[in-house]
């Protein structure tokens, strides 16, 4: 089947990133220098060309955008300054936006103002909703003076359900697309288990990520792109585990307030690791010295700010609980922490955070198609 050329696609993708693919003259240097591109997942040139001629389906249906970790080597090498690495990042944003059915993601990526409004609005709704859940414990009842308690409660639930549905819908859409991907070979029936194993190994070790080219100005390993990401990832996972344990044992053992409680130790250490990672990442993005941080945009900041604030408020609360400090300020911090954590999860389908689901799925499909 001939590909029907559609010149409007590139204009559309262009709203998601600061690349200049028009400048590309198809030399293929980007693919040649890419440490991760191979015959199963070939990029960036292939995706650039598909973007140029407007084959939308193949641009977003393959795992290729998710196989790239944006080391920036291609952008450094590009003789036309077309920024292929940034194009790949834009494709991921585009794929995320194209995977959720509401259109909110598309608006959030294209308009910073809209993204901020949505974030604040959802945050306020969730914060207020929290108040309705533990009404007896938290004294900040002033908020319900204007709006009815019931309405807030149901609105919170509605938002949550909608968000969860969107996430589920997004996952299904991604799965659907990837299963119709024409790029790979037909996987052997027995491949599923090994592909799953490979995917899990990859998530745990982030080996491919660490295989990317070093930054043009090499930095010490612990400040490298891949290790910063590992720190954030493990810190986040650790905190997730600690929070879950905390929540489960909350009613069972009063002992958990102790700083030496295992879940607490996990939380404290993980928090430090994540705080380090997030700070380093923010510094990288702030200095813009490395190629892959040069085009940092609001969606990148969004995730980092959320994680940063969550980590800081988490420590505040830990100190407050350890020393049994009770004050309305601490209650407010608690509320902020809980609302942002919930919002981070609920807005998953609309934000960069979606990669925690889409990347593993794409990796799985990629491993499945590997010979």
């Amino acid at each position: 089947m001939a590909i029907t050329v559609n010149p409007d696609l590139l204009k559309e993708i262009k709203e998601y990133g600061a690349f200049d693919i028009n400048a590309c003259f198809n030399c293929g240097n980007c693919t040649a220098v890419c440490p991760l591109s191979d015959t199963v997942g070939s990029f960036p040139r292939k995706l650039i060309r598909l973007g140029q001629i407007g084959d939308k389906n193949r641009v977003i249906s393959g795992p290729e955008p998710w196989l790239c970790y944006y080391c920036g080597e291609c952008s450094d090498t590009c003789p036309r300054q077309a920024e292929p690495g940034e194009y790949m990042a834009a494709l991921r944003r585009y794929a995320i936006a194209q995977s959720e059915p509401t259109g909110i993601g598309r608006l959030m990526y294209r308009s910073g103002v809209f993204a901020v409004i949505v974030t604040l609005l959802v945050g306020i709704v969730l914060g207020a909703f929290m108040q309705t859940v533990k009404v007896g414990k938290n004294p900040s009842h002033w908020i319900f003076g204007a709006v009815s308690y019931q309405m807030i409660h149901y609105l919170g639930i509605a938002v949550s359900i909608l968000a969860v549905l969107t996430i589920v819908g997004g996952i299904m859409k991604i799965f659907n697309r990837l299963s119709s991907w024409e790029g790979g070979t037909k996987p052997a029936p027995g491949k599923w288990v090994s592909a799953l194993k490979q995917t899990i190994t990859e998530i745990i070790t982030m080996k491919r990520h660490r295989e990317e080219s070093p930054a043009s100005e090499p930095v010490v390993w612990y400040r490298s792109h891949a290790w910063i990401h590992l720190a954030i990832m493990y810190g986040f996972i650790g905190l997730l585990v600690a929070t879950t344990l905390d929540f489960v044992f909350l009613e069972l053992l009063p002992l958990h307030l102790s700083i030496f409680w295992p879940a607490r130790i996990i939380g404290t250490v993980s928090g430090l690791v994540m705080l380090w990672g997030v700070s380093a990442a923010m510094l990288r993005r702030f200095s813009k010295e490395e190629k892959n941080a040069a085009h940092t945009s609001l969606p990148d900041w969004w995730l980092l700010i959320f994680l940063f604030v969550l980590a800081l408020t988490g420590y505040w609360l830990e100190i407050a609980t350890t020393f049994k400090l009770v004050s309305p300020v601490n209650d407010g911090i608690m509320l902020l922490h809980a609302a942002m954590a919930m919002e981070l999860i609920l807005l998953l389908a609309f934000t960069k955070f979606a990669h925690v689901i889409y990347r593993p799925i794409a990796l799985f499909v990629y491993f499945l198609n590997q010979a």
């Binding site: 050329v5 200049d20 003259f25 198809n26």
Partner: protein, 602 residues
Amino acid sequence: MEEEKNTQSEENESEEIRVGVYVCHCGGNISDVVDTKAVVEALKKNPNVKIAKDFVFMCSDPGQKLIIDDIIENNINRIVVSACSPTLHETTFRKALTRAGLNPYLYEHVNIREQDSWVHKGENEAATAKAIRLTAAGVEKIARQDPLEPIVVNAEGHVVVIGGGVAGMRAALALIKRGLGVTLIEKGDRLGGRALELDRVYPTEEKASDIVSQLENAVRAEKIDVRLNCEIELIEGFVGNFDVQIRGKDSKIDKVRAGAIVLATGFDHYQPYEGEFGYGKSPIVVTLPEFNKLIADMPQSDKFTYKGKDIKNLAFIHCVGSRQMEGVHQPQADGRVNDYCSRVCCTATLHTINKTLDKFPNLNIFDLYKDIRTYGHGHEDYYEKASKRGVTFFRYTDDSIPEYAPSSNGSGATLTMKDVLTWNEEVSIPADMIVLATGMVPRDISNLVGMLKLPTGTDRFLQEVHPKLRPVELANNGIMIAGTCQGPMDITESCAAAGASAAKVSILLSKKTIEMDPYVARVDEAKCDGCKLCLAECEYKGALFMAESYAHVNPALCVGCGACVAVCPPRAINIAGWTLDQFDGMIDAISMEELEPATVPA
């Protein structure tokens, strides 16, 4: 060698042949490979060679002085220099002979650099042997050489320029400024030629009409004899003395005498055949010149409307009528395909694309190319600009030429091809309008070509003597070419060619007479039996004719091709300076069995 064979015609039978041989080192270029001393020693054995020397730079003043001194002091009367290519220094040494009072044609230049030392590096012994044979052949040739005198003809200080386009006008202006009379003949009813069709031109973005009117005003101011609506009826004569008959609109014939002729007859646009990419069958398919004319006066707009229809997707196809392949493309009327590159269409197309986007920024533009050859200074900028502005490029090959199919709704079309840039996947390009980048084909000047026996290439354009060494001269003495009659070129290049032609004409007609090399046919009337076999071979009208029962040569018209020599049974015809006797001697020398490269004592 027998004495009687060496001596030549009666006039210098009495004269002793005293050859001087000079082997040049060329500062190591030759002597690093060829043992020049050995060459000298070997040549000294030739009885005709009275002096043999080698020297570091023969072309230098001391080198030339060696020759002059030997001619004057040692009565040397034939000179052989074994050195570089004759193109470089033959004239230098001929002048030295003249200064020494010797006939300059008693000189032979042997090339042992380009034809020996440079191509046989590392094979020093064989190269030395080759140098000896080549030099020996030169000695044998010059030993059989009579003094010659250049052919001198009258030079009319007037030039006929045929074609009143940009090239013709530029040539005419340059010529008149050098003090020559100029008649400028134009077939059409105004000056300007093909440039009149253009709007703005790359790379300067000037208006073509400004260039034309500037030139036209200058032509008018310079009192050039401009003949509009005129054609060439007949051209007779030879260099310095052409008789040009000009037929006017009223069929009246006017005669002009000219020392030289400049051809600036221009080109035609390739005309697609009916159905080529839908051309002629659908109104949405136009050629690049047609498209340029169409948008020239359109105002800037968000919308591009053509024949009442909004055009959103506009496709350009390169190489239409150019770089054709036999068996793939439909041949031209003469059965050949246009396999040459039209050169200007790539930049012209990209220039037009940018111009189109200036006027209609919302258009989607597709560019279907085979190769993009934006070769000129500043031309690549048009590609880069088009690319940056979002033009989508597709690359096709001769195996997959874009296939035109009208849309089912009848308003647009699709072009389907395998795209090299998309790893040869088939792409289908929607087009509301298609522009064919048609190339240049030679103007039909078959009457002139036939009349003057002008040389043309396989591409049917006029062909210069040598693309680098004599780029604007035809083999026909006194006829120069300017502009696109020679091959596809843009206005810049046409002007450069016109200037070069004018310069060549100026040199030719700078004196009242023209000296030509005497290497033309000569008939030995005693030997000629009047068989007339030679007449059938001669391609140059008036060069060879019968009178008083033997063949005669008009030296001004003869080009010295030697066709007559080859068919003459009694060997009555010879080319002066290249006689059959000389060839015999050279062949004997080159093929001599015993070669004794004299070893030089250390």
